[in-house]
Amino acid sequence: MASPTDKEIIDFVIHEARLLDQHRFEEWLALYTDDAYYWMPLEWGQTDPKLVGSLMYEDKLLLQIRVERLKGNRTFSQKPKSRCHHVLQTPQIDSRDDAKGEYVTWTPMHYIETRYDDQQLYAAWATHTLTLVGGVLKIKLKRVDLVNCEAAFGNIQLFM
């Protein structure tokens, strides 16, 4: 495949959020490379995901466990199930390396998660590092920086 156009990259990031909002978690997970990470830092401007605490720093195995758990009959914190809703600004393409097939986007967003009568609003910036695998765009790293990353939160159960 030829290098993706800017529009294809932007559409890809928007499509990822739509899959989450529609609870299409298996399709969502398939967007990630086998060596992908989903990272939600705990500290402002954090650079180290391993020796400093994070809210999430999960490889594909851990993400798979989450997706399977959401389907489980004894997943008590998901009775009833949470729902989520993303409002994205248009993703901006921060870097494009066609030779390497690597692209980085930056997407400010509002994310809402609900369960029962509870509705929580979060504001964050998503940074996607995308790569071409067999000519198809995949997520190598999704980093979600909450604007209030160090605040005390209740349960955050789905994916931003």
């Binding site: 020796l51 999430m56 004894r74 997943t75 160090e150």
Partner: protein, 437 residues
């Protein structure tokens, strides 16, 4: 309506040998009395000295609902001060940690205080001449918490003069701290970054009790740990077991595993699970670590330190520590039905980084607001907080393996599924609640 204030008998009647009244979890007046008495008569964890390495460094936290500062004084000692200006009550610092320089300066009227809290200067001081300021509360500066103890870097404070001395209050339970600290080849820990902060809409004691509740992991955490085990089964044969699976899988151990791990209770409400083994016993060895421990302590002692794999140690009233993975959780009461949990991680000084990597991973997977284990725990607490409003049964049961001859305020080891430690906590609760009434 006041049912409990000034009524020692009413407080005592909330705790029976094997059940406790729901008001200890849901009643606002009981909560207020806990703040005034229980959290003032006991040694409450403040912070670790590595958070304030240099003179003027401070760290802000709470004792019950009262804001306090832990600060490194110019003489290198650690002070704990109530965090309010003696003048108008303004909190002196708002950032959790920082450096005050040589003195604290209130941002409202520029009163300044030495780092032991004593009054340094007041602008336009002549306005207080002949007013008797020296005898006022304001003239005494930022009040220190009178009783402070630094145990191998871990700082505790007690507000009231009544109660027990530090050594008497904690006694042999300090062995769990010793084990965590001794796991560093140089016997030193450092706080590793910010804590995970997790808000719970439930009473703080539900969290403390859960720390030694060994009959819930395989039930409440089936959806997370059980799923982890099942997903891992599909890995290609010969794949190295990932650290995450090593952490999750033991939660699914059978009842027998938890019965045999044992529970030890100590006087004054302290106790721990995992006397003989625990969910932390079978983690992979970290290359190079044992050799460093042997070099530091000799083989026999190194083996003894690393062979002690206590699960959760509860330090009454509101701290839990995990020695084998260098993690502590502080259950901060906010209201009868609201608790902030702060989970801190520690670096073992001079040990390989992979140990800290595991500590951080454990904290993310188990203690984060984004943790699939935490989600189901919180669900149980919140359901209990609601369910307790049923009037037909107003009692919470803590009867498992209860014996009517069970002694109180003793050191004892027993079956790992006992609820003796919960009973032990409530005995201490009743004792320290009423001590200053």
């Amino acid at each position: 309506m006041t049912r409990y204030r000034g009524n020692v008998e009413a407080i005592r009647s909330l705790v029976r040998p094997a059940e406790v009244h729901r008001d200890v979890y849901v009643d606002d007046e009981v909560f207020q009395l806990e703040m005034e008495h229980l959290f003032a008569n006991t040694w409450v964890y403040i912070g670790h000295e590595s958070q304030i390495p240099n003179p003027g460094d401070y760290y802000g936290t709470t004792i019950g609902l009262q804001p306090v500062l832990m600060v490194r004084h110019t003489d290198q000692t650690v002070k704990v001060l109530f965090n309010r200006c003696p003048h108008k009550g303004t909190r002196i610092t708002t950032e959790t940690c920082g450096n005050a320089g040589k003195f604290f300066r209130c941002p409202y009227h520029a009163w300044s205080f030495k780092t032991d809290g004593s009054l340094l200067a007041i602008p336009l001081k002549k306005g207080y001449e002949n007013t008797g300021l020296e005898e006022s509360h304001a003239g005494k500066g930022m009040a220190p918490v009178r009783h402070v103890h630094n145990y191998r870097g871990f700082v505790f404070a007690k507000v009231n003069d009544v109660g027990l001395g530090f050594e008497e209050f904690f006694g042999d339970s300090l062995s769990s701290f010793d084990n965590m600290i001794d796991r560093s080849p140089v016997g030193k820990l450092e706080v590793a970054g910010s804590p995970l902060r997790y808000m719970h809409n439930c009473n703080w004691k539900m969290l403390v009790e859960n720390q030694t509740d060994t009959c819930h992991p395989m039930v409440a955490h089936e959806s997370s740990a059980g799923t982890a085990v099942n997903v891992w089964k599909n890995a290609p044969p010969g794949t190295k077991k990932p650290m995450a699976v090593e952490i999750f899988a033991p939660f699914m151990s059978p009842y027998e595993f938890f019965e045999n791990m044992g529970i030890r209770v100590w006087p004054n409400g302290h106790g721990h699970t995992g006397v003989h083994h625990s969910i932390h016993s079978d983690y992979s060895a970290i290359p190079g670590y044992f050799e460093k421990m042997v070099a530091a302590y000799g083989e026999e002692r190194a083996k003894r330190i690393l062979g002690e794999n206590r699960h959760n140690t509860v330090y009454f009233p509101n701290l839990m520590i995990k020695g084998p993975i260098q993690l502590i959780r502080l259950f901060k009461p906010i209201a009868a039905n609201k608790t902030l949990v702060e989970s801190f991680t520690f670096r073992l000084v001079d040990a390989p980084d992979v140990l800290l990597e595991r500590t951080q991973m454990y904290n993310r997977l188990i203690n984060a607001p984004t943790s699939v284990v935490g989600h189901d725990d919180l669900e149980m607490y919140e359901r209990a907080q609601e369910g307790l409003h049923v009037d037909a049964n107003q009692w919470v049961n803590v009867q498992r393996l209860y014996d009517s001859n069970e002694p109180v305020d003793v050191t004892a080891e027993t079956n790992g599924t006992t609820e003796w430690q919960m009973r032990n906590q409530f005995h201490a609760w009743s004792k320290f609640m009423t001590m200053s009434m």
